[in-house]
């Protein structure tokens, strides 16, 4: 294959700016597929992804384009996840490309995520060219957006294709621009093999299918390969490229190409995203730069609502883990919730996706505890522990000090909402860094925020306080010392371990009060009065009471009613079984979930 006729590129955009739709049009117009074969959005082939309108796993497609210069080009379009939780995966997908199309909404202009993604692309030395999408919207203002792109990002935008991906306007221009503006790949097929893993999926027949970009050398069936970071070795069984929604085998993959390989690998752990594949018999000198081990940022407890389903949950997590190396879990036990798992995620979205998949694909009813971050606890004896479960916090007398993770956050917001967003950041213990005006009506706010302040409902609050106009991006900055305490909830004087969480000392009272109020509504009346208390270090800081039930009686029960009345009693008894027993108190599953969202508006 002539390397000069290959283009490896991706599309970067803010969420909802039309990335997936443009990808669909490109695939359609290159003529590999009939319209009938088109799924609504080909690259997002997981049901869940389609419903949420986001792309979770990076995928790729190889298409053929007959350019105006009369040549046939191979396009490898690599899709990238569009959420900050998956920043590392995005960076590896970008590294597999030589260029990128930047899609900007003609009405909304540049957003925080646009900036974050485009900088990420530029950092990877990609040649980026912009297209202005949704030009058919009444509110479209392409000239303003062009200027904005040039002013803010500093890339040429005057000849940017003006398109409507939705209505198929301007797609040919985009395809020509790919040929002209995105460079052909470099590298030589004669050098030792050096291939970048940018994704992998587990297939029960073929084992792990490794998605890779061949930077140097060649790989084919029978090549003995080694993953340089994990050290795993294997013999290649099959190589190929990506058809739309299918894998198409070929003889070999050579420098400049994007494709897949299988080698009867049993676990995605062995094929970490970002790792370098080389030839055991003719290894390259150095791995490709940029590999890092992905760490979980957010933890929570996941328990089956029905304790008997514990083995099912374990099996389901095992299966998900096959395809998702960034999911971590280990067994734990809660007094209130029984046997479950402490699970680690890249972020809250990742958590929600896993939770939904467990519920939807594996039919599990889950109770999750409040998500938390990893705290560093420095003990007086010099030991440091990384705390993921609040229940494991050592006795305060053994703690010297604690540290929490802090992120650098960028919030793009129209000027009218700057005040309310700054107030929100202030409330969330944010440290103000700067305000940069993108244009007269829009600014980029920079803050440093404790991670545990943004994993709850920050995104929701941001949206509601900016009427949906603010956008948000962050990356981990590091750890900082902080005045943290463990907030415990006592129900009828019994501590409920699954409700404990770590909170900044200054917010403890407020959080405790809200938790008690919320729980008061969630816990049904019992035959006796139930005090609900919030405590820090054994000291009660808030209290609510669930009053005793006054009446629960069926006034009438005669001959014709008996079967029906018995069913009512059975329902009552069944309802109790589904609750969690803590001391004498039955707590509905929903109570554990409701405290996750303590709305502050």
């Amino acid at each position: 294959m002539d390397q000069s006729k290959i283009r490896n590129f991706c599309i970067v955009a803010h969420i909802d700016h039309g990335k997936s739709t443009l990808a669909d049009r490109i695939i359609e117009q290159t003529g590999l597929l009939t319209s009938r074969e088109m799924q609504a959005q080909i690259l997002d082939n997981m049901e869940l992804e389609r419903e949420r309108g986001i792309t979770i796993k990076a995928q790729a497609v190889r298409i053929i384009y007959q350019a105006k210069d009369g040549n046939e080009y191979i396009f490898n379009l690599i899709d990238t996840p569009g959420h900050v939780d998956f920043n590392y995966e995005v960076s590896r997908s970008l590294a597999a490309c030589d260029g990128a199309i930047l899609v900007v909404d003609a009405a909304q202009g540049i957003e925080a995520q646009t900036l974050a993604n485009v900088y990420l692309a530029l950092d990877h030395d990609l040649d980026v060219f912009p297209v202005i999408n949704k030009i058919d919207l009444p509110s479209a203002d392409p000239e303003r957006v062009k200027n904005e792109i040039e002013d803010v990002i500093g890339i040429e935008a005057q000849d940017a294709p003006l398109i409507s991906a939705k209505n198929g306007i301007g797609i040919n221009e985009v395809l020509e621009a790919v040929v002209e503006k995105i460079p052909a790949p470099g590298g030589s097929p004669d050098n030792p093999l050096q291939a970048l893993i940018f994704d992998s999926v587990y297939d029960s027949y073929k084992g792990v299918i490794v998605f890779c970009r061949i930077k140097e050398g060649r790989v084919k069936k029978g090549t003995k390969i080694r993953m340089m970071a994990t050290g795993a070795t294997a013999e290649v069984v099959e190589v190929g490229y990506f058809g739309a929604g299918q894998f198409i085998p070929c003889d070999e993959l050579a420098a400049g190409m994007v494709g897949y390989l299988t080698a009867s690998i049993k676990n995605v752990k062995d094929t970490a995203v970002g790792d370098t594949v080389t030839d055991v018999d003719n290894p390259c000198a150095e791995p490709l730069p940029g590999y890092k081990k992905v760490n979980s940022m957010v933890y929570c407890g996941m328990y089956p609502a029905d304790g008997a389903k514990y083995p099912d949950l374990r099996d389901a997590l095992e299966k998900l883990k096959l395809n998702d190396a960034s999911l971590n879990y280990e067994p734990e036990t809660s007094i209130a919730l029984g046997f479950g798992f402490r699970c680690g995620f890249l972020g809250l979205l990742h958590l929600e996706i896993i939770q939904e998949r467990l519920e939807r694909e594996y039919n599990l009813d889950l109770v999750t505890t409040a998500p938390g971050v990893i705290y560093r606890v420095y003990k007086t004896n010099g030991e440091m522990i990384e705390l993921t479960n609040p229940s494991n916090l050592p006795d305060p007398s053994e703690i010297d000090y604690m540290e929490e993770p802090v992120v650098s956050a960028e919030i793009m917001v129209t000027s009218e909402f700057i005040g309310s967003i700054m107030q929100l950041c202030q409330e969330r213990r944010g440290r103000y860094i700067s305000t940069e005006y993108i244009e007269a009506s829009r600014a980029l706010l920079k803050y440093e925020l404790p991670l545990n302040e943004i994993i709850y409902d920050f995104f929701d609050a941001l949206k509601s306080r900016s009427r949906g106009y603010a956008s948000f991006d962050y990356e981990l900055k590091g750890y900082e010392q902080s005045k943290l305490v463990k907030l415990d909830i006592l129900i009828n004087h019994d501590e409920v371990d699954a409700l404990s969480f770590i909170v900044h000392a200054d917010s403890a009272y407020e959080r405790g009060r809200k938790m008690c109020e919320k729980l008061k509504d969630e816990i049904p009346r019992h035959l006796f009065e139930i005090p609900i208390q919030a405590a820090v270090g054994g000291k009660i800081i808030a209290r609510e009471t669930v009053k005793a039930m006054r009446k629960d009686v069926l006034a009438k029960c005669y001959g014709g009613d008996i079967t029906r009345k018995k069913k009512l009693l059975e329902k009552q008894k069944e309802g109790k079984k589904r609750m969690r027993q803590v001391g004498n108190v039955e707590i509905p599953q929903s109570a554990f979930m409701s405290v996750l969202k303590l709305d502050d508006d």
Partner: protein
């Protein structure tokens, strides 16, 4: 669709077809209820009574009740009831306050009730029940007290007093936002007031919602709570015989089909003995058009024994439990009894177990505890 006349004919057929199965029983009570049986003409009701008398053996002192709504009976009709052997009347008053009656969609007023009541007495009824309701929309302690006082002054032998439960789908449930309902505390106050006032007026409470003068407890209702055998005849009627529960279909056409099945089954062969041939018996019932035929297992019988028996103020007799099930109530429910007693819901005295006043308030919680 069948009119009333054809329905009565069907019912008479059903009575005649099923009665032979129960020729070993002596009938101690008959209850005409559900809907407003007093709307039937004298001939219609008389026809039904004739069929019953023809098919069954009635005890000399059988309690025979007809439910009626105020204004649906005349002096002639009532006199006819007496000649048929009907000796108890149950009148659905609900409230003596005309505003309250209107809000719950009743077409009668208090004056109409008074007329009906007086006619009944004049006809010779010496056993009358009056149904009352508390917790009605816009009802106050004062208005409810007036209702109680007015009814007590009439001195019916029996009073059923229910606290309103809003059932989903009813007009009142749908429009509940339009009205002030007594809150939980007020509702309990009205409920406690019932017992206080009626006790003073010479009634004793024998079940959660039922009060009677000495010896005037409703024999029929006690059969339900003590799990005696009863046979339901007519549209949607429920039965319990020899620990099998079933019911007749609710729709007219289905009911007609059911009676036809009963005819064919009876023609084929006589009903099998029970409970010796229980399986055979259950199959026969199903074949003869009975629906939801459910033979009760031992545990279900125990559950029912407890949650029905505990509706009665006298509760359940421990010796009766032992006698029926061959095992002591403690051996089966010891733990539950101890827990409920510890919570102050249940008491034990004189070889009986019964609910405390607090236990009555939250009786569902207590009953549910006896389910396996």
């Amino acid at each position: 669709m069948g009119d009333v006349e054809s329905y009565v004919n069907l019912l008479r057929r059903e009575i005649a077809l099923r009665a032979p199965q129960y020729n070993k029983y002596q009938v101690i009570s008959i209850f005409f209820g559900g809907g407003t049986p007093s709307l039937l003409s004298t001939e219609q009701l008389g026809g039904i009574m004739d069929a019953v008398k023809e098919g069954f053996t009635l005890a000399a002192d059988a309690e025979i009740t007809v439910e009626c709504n105020p204004g649906t009976v005349t002096a002639e009709k009532l006199a006819y009831y007496i000649t048929c052997g009907i000796n108890r009347l149950s009148i659905g008053l609900q409230s003596a306050d005309d505003g309250e009656l209107a809000r719950i969609g009743r077409i009668h007023d208090y004056k109409t009730f008074l007329e009906t009541y007086r006619l009944a007495r004049a006809a010779g009824f010496q056993n009358i029940n009056v149904d009352l309701m508390s917790a009605l929309p816009e009802q106050t302690a004062a208005s409810y007290q007036r209702t109680l006082a007015q009814v007590c002054a009439l001195a019916p032998e029996h009073i059923s007093a229910y606290s309103l439960i809003l059932e989903e789908g009813t007009p009142l449930y749908v429009n509940q936002k339009d009205y002030n309902f007594p809150d939980e505390d007020e509702e309990r106050e009205l409920y406690y007031m019932t017992e206080r006032v009626l006790l003073k007026a010479g009634y004793h409470r024998y079940e959660i919602s039922n009060y009677a003068q000495t010896g005037k407890e409703c024999r029929h209702n006690k059969v339900y709570w003590q799990r005696g055998d009863y046979l339901g005849l007519g549209l949607g009627a429920s039965s319990l015989i020899a620990n099998v529960r079933w019911k007749n279909p609710d729709g007219y056409a289905d009911y007609a089909a059911c009676v036809e099945k009963a005819r064919r089954a009876a023609k084929e062969r006589p009903a099998p003995e029970r409970p010796a041939g229980m399986e055979d018996y259950v199959n026969y019932l199903r074949k003869s058009g009975c629906q939801e035929v459910q033979p009760l297992g031992r545990q279900e019988q125990m559950e029912e024994f407890m949650f029905l028996g505990l509706r009665l103020m006298e509760g359940i007799e421990e010796a009766a439990f032992l006698n029926i099930f061959g095992v002591s109530v403690d051996a089966v429910y010891g733990e539950t009894i101890a827990r409920l007693a510890g919570q102050g819901l249940l008491e034990r005295a004189g070889g009986r177990l019964f609910l405390t006043p607090r236990g009555i308030d939250v009786s569902n919680a207590a009953f549910a505890a006896f389910l396996f």
